[in-house]
């Protein structure tokens, strides 16, 4: 680890950070398999059979089995959805179509199942084969907690073994299909002038890991659609970013900016306390530079807590470009990469984060109007799509702001594991204004998904504790795909609703 003046005191803290902790809104650990820490595995596996007994035929390695069965349903099927977009549909049509699509996928998946059983040995994806990641597929991280508010309800009935529906799992056991899909991406990238809509359609249902960095850079608008201009653009933008660093970074101790930098400098070491890579000083410094430069170039919002989280997915995805396939991204030692490589990752992360924030800057300006509006819109949506839940929340005096503020401010990043955020962002970046408009529908689908659990809580306290500690630690692409399908449906149900009605404040 590179040493700076404050390095030693930070290092001594690193031990504490790795402790299991769960608080409302703590970032859920997770890209690959390091979490949970090995020492907690014993108690986890001891607990697991209990869960397994509930599911009918779920064996000890239920996740693996599940993973094999849930094959690439969206791969072909996403075209159905995209075509739907071109039609004006009545509500009923939407429901019917959605059902047909899902049914089709089920059939396909079933027929694929046998074929795939022989292929399971071929998993090549990082982390998925390790024992840790298997144990990750069940909610367990809260089992040591007894206090209120800290996920005590996680094991008390909300969880059901995953249904074997046929939603595609991006990094899974169908190498041929996966390879074909990757080729499809590469062909699109290679087109002299790429059609952004084609790419969006392709990416909406999830991007294979190996092509994700490039896909994200293009989708976000960082890289141009013209293939022959990309390399030149990359070089220019990277130079531009480091020009900013040279020009502005020394201002961080000046009166005007001191407070901004101080806050960033405090926040960075304490984010993602459970993921080893973020304990590295060299990584923390990258985050500090990215955030500081962004903040002083956007004085209307400046640095607001929550923005720091938004760097993480870009950083992790762009880093994955440069590391060996068998190393967990979250355990990667950045000092082993060259300075030049680290600089590339840093500059790319900066620009893509900037593009993202361009679309949601009103979330972070004075009085956070973007968030206030979205929280109101969420309330209006739930009022229309889930009346029992809406009435329950009203009756118990639960206000939407109380639980969904963070959903908007941190784009659900504190509610779901990092791997799920990354998958979610494949789709957000494939939608126009995905991080603003489509996110709203995703939040509505997210809340609706926990409708039953919420209704089971009989008072204000129970509901709020549940909603700020939702049991998503075991979530994978399947859950996100289901969420997205529901959000997509909502989007089409309400696309014609007058915007002023939905978004009135």
């Amino acid at each position: 680890m590179a040493s700076l003046s404050s390095g030693s005191s930070r290092d001594s803290k690193a031990g504490f950070w790795k402790k299991n902790s769960s608080v409302p809104g703590s970032i859920k650990p997770v890209y690959g398999a390091q979490y949970p820490p090995p020492q907690s595995n014993i108690s986890i596996s001891a607990k697991q059979p209990k869960k397994d007994e509930k599911g009918k035929n779920i064996k000890h390695d239920a996740f693996h089995e599940f993973e094999n069965k849930t094959s690439d349903a969206w791969d072909d099927g996403d075209d159905d959805l995209i075509q739907m977009a071109n039609l004006k549909l009545s509500l009923k049509d939407v429901h019917t179509s959605a059902k047909v699509v899902l049914d089709n996928h089920s059939k396909k998946a079933n027929s694929l199942q046998k074929q795939q059983e022989g292929e399971t040995a071929n998993h090549t994806i990082k982390g998925l084969n390790s024992p840790q990641s298997q144990s990750q597929s069940f909610p367990h991280h809260h089992h040591h907690h007894g206090g209120p508010g800290l996920g005590v309800r996680l094991n008390s009935g909300g969880y059901q073994p995953p249904k074997m529906t046929s939603i595609r799992y991006v990094t899974n056991a169908a190498p041929d299909r996966e390879a074909a899909r990757i080729d499809k991406f590469k062909a699109v990238f290679a087109e002299p002038s790429l059609d952004l809509n084609d790419l969006r359609k392709l990416c909406w249902s999830g991007i294979p890991k190996s092509v994700r960095p490039t896909a994200w850079k293009i989708l976000s608008g960082y890289l141009p659609t013209a293939a022959d201009r990309r390399q030149e653009t990359l070089e220019r933008k990277r130079k531009e970013y480091f020009g900013y660093i040279e020009q502005y970074y020394d201002t961080r101790y000046q009166d005007l900016h001191e407070e901004t930098f101080r806050q960033i400098h405090i926040d960075i070491p304490r984010m993602n306390p459970l993921i080893p890579i973020f304990q590295q000083l060299i990584v923390q410094e990258i985050f500090e530079r990215i955030l500081y430069i962004w903040a002083i170039r956007h004085p209307a919002s400046g640095y607001v807590q929550g923005i720091n989280d938004l760097v993480t997915p870009f950083f992790v995805v762009f880093l994955s470009e440069y590391i060996e396939n068998d190393i967990e991204v979250e355990n990667c030692d950045l000092t082993e990469l060259s300075q030049e490589t680290r600089d590339l990752i840093e500059a790319d992360s900066f620009w893509c984060m900037s593009k993202l924030l361009d679309g949601i800057q009103d979330n972070y300006t004075f009085a956070q109007p973007g968030i206030q509006m979205k929280v109101n819109a969420l309330r209006e949506l739930i009022k229309r799509i889930d009346v029992p839940l809406f009435n329950h929340l009203e009756r118990q005096g639960v206000e939407f702001l109380q639980f969904s503020f963070r959903w908007m401010n941190n784009l659900l990043m504190r509610e779901i594991p990092l791997r799920c955020t990354i998958r979610l962002w494949d789709t957000y970046q494939s939608e126009i204004n995905g991080f603003a408009d489509f996110h709203l529908y995703v939040c509505a689908a997210f809340l609706k998904r926990f409708s039953e659990e919420s209704l089971r809580e009989h008072d204000f306290q129970g509901i709020l504790m549940l909603l700020q500690n939702l049991p998503t630690l075991h979530w994978r692409d399947k859950e996100i795909s289901e969420l997205l399908a529901e959000a997509y449906k909502l989007k089409y149900m309400f696309a014609d609703a007058p915007r002023h009605l939905l978004l009135k404040s």
Binding site: L150, V304, Q305, G306, L401, Q402
Partner: protein, 213 residues
């Protein structure tokens, strides 16, 4: 699920500069745990715990943990109205967080009116003696000047954590007994709880809560 029996429910709010340790304090109080680092609170988080205010009398404390960063003030402000207790927290190892006490105090008072609330001042991270920038005397003097109680607390050692919450709970209870604070329709600062099953408090509360728009 069976609800523990409690006489009243009090809503309290914790305020103070970013990183003074509000979340750690609440986590220690409700869960007995201390973490060296945690993600910054955005908006407001909710915690709860039962506490005895005198032998045989329990109250439920519902606690709002607020984000300290300036940008979140417009959100956190809306939580003052329904609070009967306010804990203003500063970090004894950070002078500026002490200097901002007055501003926090004034903001809270302004937004709580016309309701009454009990305030306490907490000098937190009291274990961090070697980096102390605010003396106990200064902290106490600020509190006394405004007629408030004062504690130096630590979520690392547990020092005074229980005492501080007990103090604000007992004072609120006493004010309620004395009639200085009353249960009011449409105000969530204090509510009647569930006591003996024969009473109909539960029903009354359920009705009181249904706020129609």
């Amino acid at each position: 699920m069976c609800d523990p029996i409690f006489e009243y429910q009090f809503r309290l709010i914790l305020i103070g500069d970013s990183t003074v340790g509000k979340s750690s304090l609440l986590r220690y109080f409700t869960d007995g745990k201390f973490d060296e680092a945690c993600d910054p609170t955005v908006g407001v988080d909710f915690y709860a715990r039962l506490m005895e205010v005198k032998p045989g009398v329990r109250v439920k404390l519902q606690l709002w943990d607020t984000a300290g960063q300036e940008r979140f003030r417009s959100i956190t402000r809306s939580y003052y109205r329904n609070s009967v207790g306010v804990m203003i927290v500063y970090d004894i190892s950070k002078r500026s967080s002490f200097e901002n006490l007055k501003e926090w105090y004034e903001e809270a008072r302004e937004h709580i009116e016309p309701h009454k609330a009990i305030f306490v001042i907490l000098g937190h991270k009291a274990d961090n003696e070697e980096n102390r920038q605010v003396t106990s005397r200064e902290g106490r003097r600020f509190a006394e000047m405004h007629g408030l109680k004062f504690f130096e607390t630590s979520a690392k050692t547990g020092q005074n954590v229980e005492e501080a919450f007990a103090s604000i709970a007992k004072d609120t209870y006493q004010h309620l007994q004395d009639g200085h604070i009353k249960i009011e329709e449409g105000w969530d600062g204090v509510k009647a709880g569930f006591s003996r099953p024969k009473e109909t408090v539960q029903l009354a509360e359920a009705e009181g809560e249904s706020r129609c728009c």
